[in-house]
Symmetry: C2
Subunit: 399 residues, 2 copies
Amino acid sequence: MVSVQQAEEIIQSVPAVVRPETVPLNHAVNRVLAEEVTADRDLPPFNRVAMDGFAVDSRGFSPGKRYTVAGMQAAGDDPLLLAHPDTCIEIMTGAVLPGGADAVIPYEWGTANETTFTPHPHITITPWMNVHRKGTDARQGEAILATGTVISPAEVAVLASVGKASVNVYAFPATALVSTGNELVPVQARPLAHQIRQSNTPALQAAMATMGWKVDLFHFKDDYNHLYTSIENLLGQYDVLIVTGGVSKGKFDYLPQVLEKLKVKKLFHSVAQKPGKPFWYGHRPDGKVVFALPGNPVSAHLCFYRYIRPWILRSMKVTVPGVQAMLASEVRFEPPLTYFLQVQIRTEQGVLRAFPVAGHGSGDFINLKNVHGFLELPANQNEFKSGEAYTFIPFRTPF
Amino acid sequence: MVSVQQAEEIIQSVPAVVRPETVPLNHAVNRVLAEEVTADRDLPPFNRVAMDGFAVDSRGFSPGKRYTVAGMQAAGDDPLLLAHPDTCIEIMTGAVLPGGADAVIPYEWGTANETTFTPHPHITITPWMNVHRKGTDARQGEAILATGTVISPAEVAVLASVGKASVNVYAFPATALVSTGNELVPVQARPLAHQIRQSNTPALQAAMATMGWKVDLFHFKDDYNHLYTSIENLLGQYDVLIVTGGVSKGKFDYLPQVLEKLKVKKLFHSVAQKPGKPFWYGHRPDGKVVFALPGNPVSAHLCFYRYIRPWILRSMKVTVPGVQAMLASEVRFEPPLTYFLQVQIRTEQGVLRAFPVAGHGSGDFINLKNVHGFLELPANQNEFKSGEAYTFIPFRTPF
């Protein structure tokens, strides 16, 4: 049996094989950037007018001055030139600041007619007022997005602005998601009295889909030979196998034997944690990785968010900032195991407060609907006091 | 000019028309449930064995007792019957508890051979030990997921378990996303010196895609007649128009006039906020809704997350818990406007600390890459002290 930290280190020591792939920008959100992106020109690319009004030369301004309107320039027009400090150019937001001008006086700051503009006498004009100056946000050639950035809508705006109509993102390893267990029937089936429907593989598939990780689903019966040939077949086709069930101490929990026989080296079997203790992990010299998660839905859910998701993100060079939440009531837990407590987060005045949500054990996944994630309570403690902060493993956003 | 709260109330007073649509379960994640889901059977549907070991009748147990193994039952097998209290049945996790049994003694708690099982003498057996009892998580017919639930992977597990191979979720209104501005060229184009690439519509499209909201993109030039016929056409085809640009005080900001001419009633034009002041909103008697956002990328981003996203979620009966974050340094802001401060969140000991990220104004969207969201600083204050908590509008998860 290994500790949670050992399990994590063992898993992280073999990064996922993630290669770059090119996707169109409108499929890039939530994916991870596999290239450094640089500005193809200064940003803004020109002295950009930031208010509607009149472009002037600030040095020529004096209170009571009346400007002659020498022209009008819209956004998207070729820039005009300010020929004389007594003239101004009527100018729109987004336009290039005319040559010779260094400030924009907004409409509201003066009185205009067809040919003249008279600023109110009390105003003050400063150079570069209402001008978003060329290159202030980024210089041409400057790195503006790093490899390993998770692409949110804000990054989509940045990528669009530098012309990345397609983007290099990390591709996920070819992954098979396998459920085992004779008691399981498909979601659309009507189960007999002693059967239940599969729920682990649909839930994990959904969790992975939100990251853009596409997987193929399989279900195998608890039969040694069937399992052997099926898993052998998958190891030939996929880089990563995530299996649920068949790893405990039961007579038909063939998976560890099957995997060993198929030369997948066990790196651990059993983690000092509750739930999810029977978790099995191994890899094969050819690079194939197998996560064999306990079949209990809460355990499988936990193992994905605590181990597999951070593993794939780190393989893609993503920095995931850890987060803590403050326990909102006292908890006791005697066994020398890391206890992953199901919690609901309520934020109060900027504090993440974690309220334990009592369930009926690791088989009770109905309970998860009220839960935002797990609070990781260390193995070397039995008492966890209200107000203490512990690592929080979210599986949905609490706000 | 209306206040932020007035703008919000006006927008929320006309909910989006969202009709239920049926999607397969594997497309349901992140969508919003448009039906109440009930348990089709008790959950668990039977007294479910929660450990591998031996099923016994707890009443017949005494220290030193030796059981005769009367049979073996795997998960997915028809249940056996415990005929006599001196017998036990070897049983696997996930199996139905045999009739006559009321407890499971794990393998580790005794010594077994082919025909007998002898529990260690010091153990204590309690009724329903290691049994996940029928109906404890939910009763048949009980509502287990409410209308308006955002479907996370945990809900996918619940839906799968009750046989929802397809699910009723809310469909989004037919939506057109329009950029305006003669200075804008497509992402894949090489802009001239005075042009820039479109970035607002790709970014908003991405933001909406993460919710499952599919939109069609358009770009129109700043030409009154072109804009009139184009917008008229879109109002015929779409329920919601989200337009960026063309709503400020510029000579070519035709949009308010065009919309008025097309009988879209202005409900406000200009919100007492920074950024995003020129925000225009209206609707037409036939139910069409138009959000006309300022063209500045930071403004457009803010208006989407502060107004449009909450509007669509509330129309789908989603309860979005607000969240506050704690300002990490003093901020001064004089104008009588709500100031949406760009912040980076760092969590420390369970506290969401909001660090202002200085940008170069509402045109500086490069800055957004370091930002998690906006802190909403009320209009009636000028000084905002470190340690004070304010509403936080996230546009990406800070952890």
